[in-house]
Symmetry: C2
């Protein structure tokens, strides 16, 4: 077993996420606290099969059975262990924000249980331990063994960072010791990889914490083997008689692109297959490109980033255009009503964006991160923290969700905990670690990627610097940075100019900074100077309500516009605008007024404008069921249109909703 | 065995389809001849597994095996026999138009084979005879035994009417004798019905031909039992261990509404489930309502008609909004891209419309019949008669058909003969019997439902009358009726005022008929007078190109218009208009010019108008992959828009197509 070096002893990498960031934001701190006070306790109950109204998870019970502390059958998905891991990871981040003895006790107890469930050879997976002990590592395609290990590693790292307790870390290092006896380029080992990428990015975290190169090497091995010929997944599938785990009686049709294993990762240019797997893989690829200085891998990351964000991403930052395989489809195919846009995929896109920001500081990565965070991810959670969207649609007709089978996957109301409970704990771990997404540091330049109130401590320009960011997004665009330093030091502050506020202004100690678009470096305003204690930088972002148009190749959004205010995408709901929402027509010249929305959580701003409603004119329109088609053009009636932030949709009962509205010219 | 009375000996029913109508139309005769010269011979080869490039049908071979004339295993669907039946039915109609000794020889040979495959007890079905002889009548839900019998009855009736040969009729009467020993209200018999309705309408035809009440009674039995409690299909399913025919290893989820067996038919008001089954059932219900003077059934038919045509019908006359179960969804749910609109369902809707016209002469039934015929049905067949659409979409993006699994069922090009070959022979039997859809007779009023060139012989007002209709639809709206009569007689000619030509004019012997909308009887202009030999009625229909709008509750068509000229719905294709088709914007004030379309079959008229194209304006639009979303409104460029008849779409290679185009105001 290798010793765990003190993180501060390790060489600072050229690019890094500053570790010492504490959130303190009027908008986001609420969410973090909701996760701490509601989501984590609720999910703890759910994991223990005690959440009222939710399907029993079986996750903790599986560990008890594997540990010999209970009897019974394995319950849940083959990847059920990962729910426990994601909860522990969220707990790790939560404890980094605020120590909580009772929560820590619960986590320690669970970690003890995990240790007890670990097999003598280091193997850890309750499904195979309980149910198919002889079949370990025989179905990497479907069975998520390395995926579950990856999540548990992420939990171990987060928990160690929070508490200094290394028990889970040691457990997972033993597991990886075992994994190394099974996988590798050496004769007799499997040249394989998991069907669901995750361990790759986790191993990078383990490497960064411990400094042990072998973890980085193993991550690179999994990434490099993927898609190579002879194809591991195909050979494995053949040797299983072409049968899968999920429907063992049916011949499995193996689509390698579903697993992003259809070609070597360095040759991939288009995002295909299961969206979460894809972005988890791209995240690890970007990590490896940076840490191993791999230009080919870097180019692949950039190509894939462009493909995802410039041809396959919804305006809410969601990805995955079809529920068939929870997958990407093809360029510009972004149907709003049969959409998938899984919450986990948007979270994975945020991971990918963060790693791209480390690879090269470009504001487009942060723009996407912000878009996915404020819209898709935030919208997935109900205000009560207990109900979630798995699928995040941009257009909802509740009756269609109920009565058109092609839309059964779309729900018009957030659901309690899922049978496949990947999304809620993923939201929890993201929101509790949000401080890690605000800044990236490249040498002595500190890039501000998100305008979120927080305190940062870092070494910059040879000085110990503390930066207190105050922000009131998404409602107001005034931001300030107060610098406290033990001594003056020259370093640079990079301020992102958001795509939605190209006319951002900034001032240092009240003195306006004069700059043009040409002065920006990859979308950041770089303020390099000798900073002194007490310096104050203010930034002003324009929070105006604008219309956004999609590229004409997006057929689904033709002749339509979305409403955006700052980072928030808005939507029209029938509770405010009547039915059908589709009958609204939005003038391109619309001028919006703002108002506090009484029936939405405090502080939320609704926007209003004059618009039109298309009304059927029919000789027999008085009848309940008039002729469906007629030659009389519909009448356009003036109407007051109200739009609310997308992330708050569906919080006032079930109804119609649309992000994209047809414009009038 | 019952004697077959001469049809002319039977009492004339109050309402009837005149039997003696011969098609002679510049537009439709071409299609009929194509069916006779190409489709029927091609389908004959296909049934014999000799059609190049098409999947082997196995249909004839199955009969050989069942007859002991060949060895081997059953091939194809459980309802494969019905393909032979539909071919024979089309042959029957074809021979009524034009005798053909060689075709008749082939049909007789096939009928001999069918006779040889019939079991000693009268049972006829090759699947159960070959494959599961002990399992007859144990799975009515899935196995189509009565369905296949129904189609063979329809064939027998058509073939007898054409040739006077009763061999197939006798075979099917023996089969029904057998069916009567199995099904019925009596103790020990099954109070059941087929999962796929068809035999009900066939039994009505058999009754009308033979005058034997027991056939009508059996049809009524099947209709009346359907959906009653205890539910036959549910009980059968339970007794089969909840397993189905198609996936015997999987627990079957029985959805009774799929079979329209969720409640008694008289209580049904909404069209649900498999669309073809539904309209075949409604057809029989309308038959029975009329023939048994059943007011409750008549009211149910009217309710279901309204539901289908006023809330669930596409503008092309297609029905079935989802491929999941080839089914209806719910009111106003008419997605254009994930549509089903199966060819067979439109044909079934035409059957239903014809029976409703017999029930009560109302032009709305004929309007729908015409809409489905000229658009959905006609569009399903390629000009070569050998390629067909099963699904008839209103919006096609070929890449989406290939790469978005939710649209895999939509094809952008017509396919050669299908594995499940229901549609092509259904088209063949409809087009060869088209003469039966032109007129309906109620007492001494002859209603013209379709303006199609033809000659009719009928007894009207005590005279033997021949009416020669000359028409040049769909291109020109001039129609004439020349009356030849052995003596003068008083009767009425009902002339349908099509919904697309409310300003229709008419003249008798050159003398204009003056009438207002109030003078019409249920949408028909009734000309009642003493008609004499040589009288000529002329009708003029306005063939102008107009925009059609859908009811605002149809979300998919909001802010859009379709182009219609006479009975033809038009569409825009990318071959004429570039890609993406969705970027076109059609002014509501569009003025259309007409032109012959050189690259379309002779006579076809394309229409053109000034329109707009929405072009993305983006700072980085020069790049291949620019930002997906921006705040600069698209530029509207003037463009010449060309639309072609929908029925001809996809005949010039694969490309984008749309029926509904966004309007500009």
């Amino acid at each position: 077993m290798s010793p765990i070096p003190n993180p501060s002893e390790r060489a600072a990498s050229a690019a890094a996420v500053p570790a010492g960031v504490t959130l303190s934001d009027p908008f986001w701190s609420d969410y973090t606290e909701r996760v701490q006070n509601v989501v984590i306790p609720y999910q703890y109950e759910a994991l223990h099969d005690r959440a009222p109204g939710a399907e029993p998870s079986g996750a903790v019970r599986n560990f008890r059975i594997a540990a010999g502390q209970a009897e019974g059958a394995f319950v849940g998905w083959v990847f059920q262990d990962s729910d426990v891991a994601k909860w522990l990871e969220a707990v790790g981040y939560s404890l980094q924000i605020r120590r909580d003895a009772e929560l820590e006790r619960r986590a320690d107890e669970l970690i003890d249980l995990i240790g007890a469930a670990q097999q003598p050879d280091g193997y850890l997976n309750t499904y195979f331990t309980i149910k198919e002990p002889g079949k370990r590592w025989t179905n990497l395609t479907d069975c998520h063994e390395l995926y579950c290990a990856g999540h548990m590693i992420e939990a171990a790292v987060a928990y160690y960072e929070a508490t200094g307790k290394d028990k889970l870390l040691r457990i997972m290092q033993r597991m990886i010791d075992h994994v190394e006896t099974v996988f590798g380029p050496e004769e007799g080992k499997l040249r394989g990889y998991d069907g669901h990428q995750e361990i790759e990015l986790a191993l990078v975290k383990l490497y960064k914490l411990t400094g042990e190169e072998r973890y980085l090497k193993l991550a690179a091995f999994f990434i490099n083997e993927r898609g190579r010929e002879p194809n591991f997944l195909r050979e494995e599938w053949k040797s299983r008689g072409r049968r899968g785990h999920f429907e063992p009686n049916v011949r499995q049709n193996l689509d390698l692109s579903y697993f992003q294993a259809h070609k070597p990762v360095r040759e991939q240019s288009e995002a295909v297959g299961h969206a979460v797997r894809a972005v988890y893989m791209y995240t690890a690829m970007a990590d490896l490109a940076r840490l191993t200085d791999d230009e080919q891998l870097r180019q692949a990351c950039i190509r894939l980033w462009h493909n995802v964000t410039r041809t396959q991403m919804y305006v809410i930052g969601g990805i995955g255009s079809t529920h068939h395989g929870e997958a990407f489809t093809f360029d510009y195919d972004l149907p709003n009503d049969t959409v998938y846009a899984e919450t986990c995929a948007a979270i994975g896109l945020i991971f990918f964006a963060q790693r791209m920001l480390l690879l090269e500081p470009k504001s487009e990565y942060a723009d996407v991160m912000e878009r996915a965070l404020y819209n898709n991810v935030l919208g997935s959670m109900a205000q009560d923290g207990k109900h979630y969207f798995y699928v995040n649609p941009l257009e909802v007709w509740p009756q269609a969700c109920a009565h058109n089978p092609g839309k059964h996957h779309v729900k018009s109301e957030r659901q309690a905990w899922f049978g496949c409970a990947c999304c809620p704990p993923n939201v929890a771990r993201l929101l509790t670690s949000l401080g890690r997404y605000i800044y990236t540091q490249h040498g002595d330049t500190l890039y501000t990627n998100l305008y979120i109130g927080s305190e940062l401590s870092a070494e910059l320009g040879g000085a110990q610097v503390r930066i207190k960011q105050q922000a009131a997004l998404p409602w107001s665009g005034d931001v300030s940075f107060e610098i406290a330093a033990d001594r003056a030091g020259e370093f640079a502050l990079g301020l992102r100019v958001p795509s939605w506020s190209p006319d951002m202004t900034a001032a240092v100690n009240g003195e306006p900074v004069s700059f043009s678009r040409e002065d920006l470096e990859h979308g950041y305003l770089i303020l390099r100077r000798e900073w002194a204690d007490g310096d104050v930088v203010t930034v002003s972002l324009r929070m105006s309500t604008v219309l956004v148009y999609a590229d004409a190749r997006v057929r689904a959004d033709a002749h339509k516009a979305a409403i955006q205010r700052g980072p928030l995408v808005y939507c029209a709901e029938s509770i405010d605008n009547g039915e059908p929402i589709s009958s609204l027509r939005l003038p391109q010249t619309a001028v919006f007024s703002e108002r506090g929305a009484d029936d939405l959580p405090g502080g939320a701003i609704a926007v209003e404008t004059q618009a039109l409603r298309s009304v059927t004119v029919s000789p027999d329109a008085g009848e309940e069921k008039a002729a469906l088609y007629g030659t009389v053009p519909p009448r356009l009636e003036p109407v007051r249109l109200t739009a609310v932030p997308y992330y708050l949709w569906g919080n006032r009962g079930t109804g119609e909703m649309a992000v994209w509205l047809t414009t009038s010219d």
